[in-house]
């Protein structure tokens, strides 16, 4: 697995912390999946509010890498302000950068994203941008200082899986040295396995686990699928072919009649 700004992760599972039935179940999901990164969305009001820190403390107690995000930000300024608060609250340079451009699909505003990425990178942040599979945008993000890219699988919370396999495969081929994370849209472990089989370095998801009937069990299932997909990619899978190719030779078989 490639490094994320110099940090080597134990596995490719990044798990969100929103929408769980309770913090106890959230903690259980992390325990059973051994996910290596927790993403946390930061409400803008929380940074100035000492009393409201209880939930953040629960997240710190998970003892995993914390990736704060700017979820729900619709402008560059909002995203930058939220990133500043995140750095204060969690004492990390990592920031998952989300600049939402469209309310119905929650798809990124890629223009604002590149701008915010440049501002934050210049300030010393290590930016994980939530983007599309567009190669030109990806290139601009790298120029802006990003060393990780996080293309969507499908719209946030939709559970539709990998909507554009062709585009994602092209992205992997185009940026062989850049750590790539599938962020958003996954609903099932098989989809996470497929992402890892394509050679992605990690997947990031939240809703599929938090809104499952048994979130901790679903988190464990995702962890298994991610491990399997990663192992399969590393094992150099066979190429598919159009004709049957028998696994046992037929020539020379004895005829018993």
């Amino acid at each position: 697995m490639r490094d994320f700004y110099g940090t080597r992760l134990a596995n490719g599972f990044m798990l969100g912390t929103a929408q769980y039935p309770s913090p106890a179940i959230l903690a259980d999901a992390f325990r059973r999946s051994a996910a290596s990164v927790a993403t946390v969305s930061l409400r803008r009001e929380s940074g100035r509010d000492r009393q409201g820190q209880d939930f953040w403390q629960l997240i710190r107690d998970l003892d995993v890498h914390i990736l704060p995000n700017t979820a729900g930000c619709h402008s560059v300024k909002e995203a930058v302000t939220t990133a500043h608060m995140a750095r204060e609250v969690f004492d990390t340079k990592w920031i998952k950068l989300e600049v939402i451009g469209e309310e119905d699909t929650l798809q990124p505003d890629v223009f604002g994203l590149v701008e915010a990425a440049r501002i934050l990178s210049d300030e010393g942040f290590q930016v994980f941008p939530y983007t599309t599979e567009d190669l030109v945008v990806a290139d601009r993000l790298l120029q802006a200082g990003c060393e990780v890219l996080m293309p969507w699988g499908a719209p946030i919370g939709s559970g539709l899986g990998l909507n554009n396999i062709f585009g994602l495969r092209a992205m992997r081929a185009h940026f062989p040295d850049i750590p790539l994370v599938i962020d958003a849209g996954l609903g099932l472990p098989s989809q996470a396995a497929a992402a890892m089989e394509l050679g992605f370095d990690a997947v990031l998801l939240n809703t599929a686990v938090a809104r499952a009937g048994d979130p901790a069990a679903m988190a464990e299932a995702f962890a298994g699928a991610i491990r399997a997909g990663q192992q399969a990619h590393a094992a150099d899978p066979m190429e598919p072919r159009d004709m049957a190719a028998p696994s046992t030779p037929v020539i020379g078989k004895a005829f018993l009649e």
Binding site: P21, S22, P23, E45, S46, G52, D54, G213
Partner: protein
């Protein structure tokens, strides 16, 4: 007769006082205010007695213990209405209704025609829903007032004073029901911010709580009668801000508008914000430390679970029966 001090006259304290009084105790209640009011988060409650609906995201005991609530409250107050509750979703979010149905029980599926019969003001707007016929709701402020009045007339002494639980416990059995105020001694108690609105909208009539499912902004609206509606409620972790945010208000009102555009003409007559006291698993806890019993963590289930919590506190004291939400190790 056993003398017991109860500190905090919110929904937990009042219900526990009632249960202990019924078992023959002599009760003194302390609260920093003379009457139930906005200083207690139960003042801002929706007042839904909806154990089956809560089962969608809450753990099993909430459904089971919550089913005690409607009967208990009906004996304390005449504000309990047993018209069930109705769950609907906008047509584009049908999958949320499917999911809700799969996670809950105690309902029957209703189609457009039956929704129109149950709630004529919603009829042509929703084509399918879930009807939880046995659920109920109450008017929280009236219920608290009735409960308090009943206790006072049955001989409970109310003292308007902030009391220190440890100091009280040196003189006798004390129940700490201070809710989020007990954060100073309960380290694992956290506040979950809730925001709600009270609307006046005489154009709309609803007969039961309506839950509108939406992936981002689930909303419930509880009719209080006379064109008054309670609209709630956000659930925000990691914040104890004192005011409603513009975003929350926008989301709540948009959801009401989607339920029926006539809500666009409603007047906002009250805005409520408070922190629900919650433990990490969002389940209530009873903890005992010598003469001091702490009952807390009702989270968003104050009116739903306080009767069961009160019964368990009474059983602990009078029958020496360990309650299922007892938590000795943490005391």
């Amino acid at each position: 007769m056993m003398d017991i001090t109860v500190i905090g006259a919110g929904v937990a304290g009042l219900c526990i006082a009632r249960a202990l009084l019924d078992r023959g105790a002599k009760i003194t209640m302390f609260d920093r205010q003379a009457e139930p009011g906005p200083h207690a988060c139960s003042w801002w409650a929706g007042g839904m007695l909806a154990p089956f609906c809560e089962g969608e995201s809450a753990e099993e005991p909430v459904v089971r213990l919550g089913s005690e609530a409607a009967g208990w409250w009906a004996a304390q107050t005449d504000s309990v209405v047993r018209h069930g509750s109705l769950v609907v979703s906008p047509s584009r979010d049908k999958s949320d209704l499917v999911r809700f149905a799969r996670r809950t029980s105690g309902y029957r599926k209703v189609a457009g025609a039956e929704i129109a019969t149950l709630e004529p003001d919603l009829g042509d707007r929703f084509t399918s829903g879930l009807f939880f016929e046995t659920e109920a709701h109450l008017a929280p402020r009236a219920a608290l007032a009735h409960l308090r009045a009943g206790l006072a007339s049955d001989g409970v002494t109310f003292v308007q004073e902030t009391a220190d639980p440890d100091a009280c416990a040196r003189h006798g059995l004390t129940i700490d029901c201070r809710g989020f105020q007990a954060r100073d001694v309960l380290n694992d108690l956290r506040g979950v911010k809730g925001e709600m609105l009270v609307l006046s909208c005489p154009d709309i009539e609803l007969h039961r709580p309506i839950r509108m499912l939406h992936p981002r902004v689930p909303l419930y609206i509880v009719p209080r009668g006379d064109g008054i509606f309670m609209l709630g409620a956000t659930m925000i972790e990691g914040s104890a801000g004192k005011h409603v945010t513009a975003r929350s208000m926008l989301e709540l009102l948009s959801a009401a508008y989607a339920l029926n555009p006539a809500f666009g003409e409603a007047e906002v007559i009250e805005i409520g914000v408070d922190s629900r006291p919650a433990f990490p698993d969002n389940m209530p806890r009873i903890r005992r430390d010598g003469n001091l019993i702490r009952a807390n963590g009702l989270y968003r289930h104050g009116f739903l679970l306080a009767p069961a919590l009160a019964r368990m506190v009474a059983e602990l004291i009078f029958d020496n029966k360990t309650p299922e939400v007892m938590d000795e190790s943490a005391a």
